[in-house]
Symmetry: C3
Subunit: 323 residues, 3 copies
């Protein structure tokens, strides 16, 4: 199942603004800022004791997960419930798909049940785009990760996290380390950071995982982590996705850590105020030393908190644009 | 596990009206009309923006699915949530049953948790009846499909769908095509249509799937679809249930389509204003040509929308009768 | 995975009272009484039609089940929903754990999602304690069963059940029959009954399942059920946990019933007003004769009802102590 026909850009804009969140590529800066600002409001409300708000009361949101990811699904489920929406979880591998119902027939049926939003996770790039192209106006799609292509809420929450700790995106030096080639997270991070004005983005990994062609995305490619993190303000580690790689590309966990793992020594090469990020779940001793993950420069757990606020914000912004 | 002892009729009536929805056989016409009218009200409210209503706030509804059916469970889950009830999904094959707990012991326990309603799906005919017979007053059972026997909410939503498109049930000519023998959907459709005054009901399929004995239900049996659909106002296609048939009865999908699939040519034989229905999910190119399923005479997707309203109505009517 | 480092006592008390519910061992009597009293209020409210109350609106409760138990999970899910909390079910064996995420990293992530409470079920003794020790203030842990160690909400609901039927715990004679050795239920029952002032607690089973060492808990050990139940006011049968025992310890179901099953004859040996209890689900004809389970002395189903009220009470008490 390849969704080659899907249009990858601009299909997320509607007449009243952002209609779907499919990709961060070419997303207008003012929309990114709007989402981050609104997330900030939800975060403040939660700190003030108003974790749950009636913004989406009566709305029906489907978590449509064609690829198992309890963690990601949970963050969307919580975000939707805190907005007072009704949430229905559909893990599709074990249901309709196995009876031969096609993707779009299934989506048509859920739309007919008066769905307001689909949160879509799929192993195939373009699946969320295909659904977004297909649904009628008033129905919204959030891409919760599609193949190697995009994971836009992760990119947005990373941007939000950086904004919480850094005064400005101008002049920021950011290193992204790990399996850049297969990472939808990295692609989304790069797109949003460039939109926000970050010029100095360095990606780093072994040649098999960070080939020179990645520079097409407007980043500088490094193969030595010591050079990549030199003086940077932000280090974003990627998760090694064992399941996405054929065996030969991937070094052993020990080899990877030796070559690219973020250790305390390597951290010293970065700026004094560097922040360390990871989309989670972390592989301790593979991408990152435990002392760094749990250390004072790590903002890995705050990222999770911000992730809920950002997902609430995206849901509220999209549904706000359907009125 | 056969529930042979279960009483199949009238066990659904209580002192204050309909107490359980188990079967449409012999259901009084005024109750059917009441359910359809109330469904119409929920549908109107949803169109007016009030998709969610507080009718069942504080009630606890268990989706008790002994047979996996994500699609059907989802429609009941949404209906219950839109009525503001609390819903607990129990997929029983993987839980208590495997530990040897008996059906009625499990039901007793859930009743003791102060359940208000059970939505029961089971592969054995009579399972919902057995539960209904067993639960105390104040607890209600909806049969969401039991073996080959009955699928009453499907029959009701089909009746509702027809009423949305046709002025009257009087004089209506209806063809039901496919595997009539094994279909709980067909049985429920026939019962409700006869109750509503439809005299001309034609069932059609190969002799193995639509034997002459089906005429006992008060319908005319056809083996040629061209004759069955001639001049009809409504064509109801059934889903081929591969899993319910032994191999020899079932023609190949290609053979079935050649003999009984609803094509554009065959559709021309029906009345100009014919509506085409299917309980879903459709098998394109098996029961129905894609061009017909997606064409102007098809009301397959509206049926899904009406299905939510009808299920909300049934829940509200039953629980209204417990006060 | 053994959580040997976990502290087993007093780690559940906070500055404002009970912070976690991990074990009933050494729990102050006034806290037990407070939980039972509050459960009584929820039970009364439900009888009065107010089954659902807004006590925990906006709170997020995670059912963190590392061991499959649909029944127990359902009782906590219902309790949380009746308190108007948002509930997220996580069956962990099939998710993060399989990707190698450690227990505490997973908990850290859920805490970062602003969890208010974890209901933890785990096959390893001490798992809930480990989590409780780890979470920040404002986050609460309920042990929903950990290995052979403890199942405190079961103990509390059993105490509540006894109080509903008996005037006083003073002078009460209680027999606990079955696999005492492997039963977290028995341990919790013994702890809470002793706290409430029950002096005459008799445990009974074959030597393999009720060895003399059990008397360390302050109970009298019997190997003949006829002697154990003689004149008692309460008989608590335990569930045979096939999955927890190596083959040689366990007699066949028939042998067990012959030796220790609660029959009508044996029941006659107890006090006239004896009540019969079982944590469920019952194995008919193994631990208990059907006529006894369904008979006038059995309070097995009321226990289930009380179990919801007690779990609501525990949740409300714990979260009340975080303000």
């Amino acid at each position: 199942m390849k969704y080659k026909g899907a249009v990858m850009n601009d299909s997320q804009m509607g007449e009243r603004g952002l209609r779907h969140l499919l990709s961060l590529e070419n997303m207008p800066k003012e929309i990114v800022i709007d989402i981050l600002d609104r997330a900030g409001e939800f975060l403040s409300a939660a700190s003030g004791g108003a974790k749950k708000v009636p913004v989406l009361r009566g709305k029906t949101i489907f978590n449509l997960f064609f690829e198992n990811s309890t963690r990601t699904r949970t963050t969307f489920e919580i975000a939707a419930k805190r907005l007072s929406a009704d949430v229905v979880n559909l893990n599709v591998s074990t249901s309709s798909q196995s009876k031969g119902e096609s993707l779009l027939d299934m989506v048509n049926n859920l739309v007919a049940m008066q769905a307001d939003m689909f949160v879509v996770r799929h192993s195939q790039s373009g699946a969320a785009h295909l659904i977004a192209k297909h649904v009628p106006s008033g129905v919204h799609v959030i891409n919760a990760g599609d193949g190697r292509h995009s994971h836009p809420t992760q990119g947005l929450l990373d941007a939000f996290s950086i904004r919480q700790y850094k005064n400005s995106f101008d002049g920021l030096r950011v290193a992204i380390v790990g399996d850049v080639l297969h990472s939808r997270v990295a692609r989304s991070q790069i797109h949003v950071l460039k939109t926000l004005g970050v010029d100095d983005i360095r990606v780093c990994g072994p040649r098999t995982l960070a080939p020179e062609t990645v520079s097409d995305l407007g980043v500088t490619v490094f193969h030595e982590i010591e050079k990549a993190v030199l003086g940077v303000d932000v280090i974003m580690m990627l998760r090694l996705q064992h399941e996405r790689m054929s065996g030969t590309l991937l070094p052993s966990p020990q080899d990877f850590f030796r070559g690219y793992g973020l250790t305390e020594e390597r951290l010293l090469l970065a700026d004094n105020d560097v922040i360390v990020m990871h989309p989670g779940p972390i592989n301790r001793g593979v991408e990152i030393a435990s002392s760094v993950a749990d250390g004072p420069r790590s903002i890995i757990l705050p990222q999770v908190t911000y992730g809920i606020a950002v997902r609430m914000s995206v849901m509220a912004v999209l549904l706000g644009n359907s009125l």
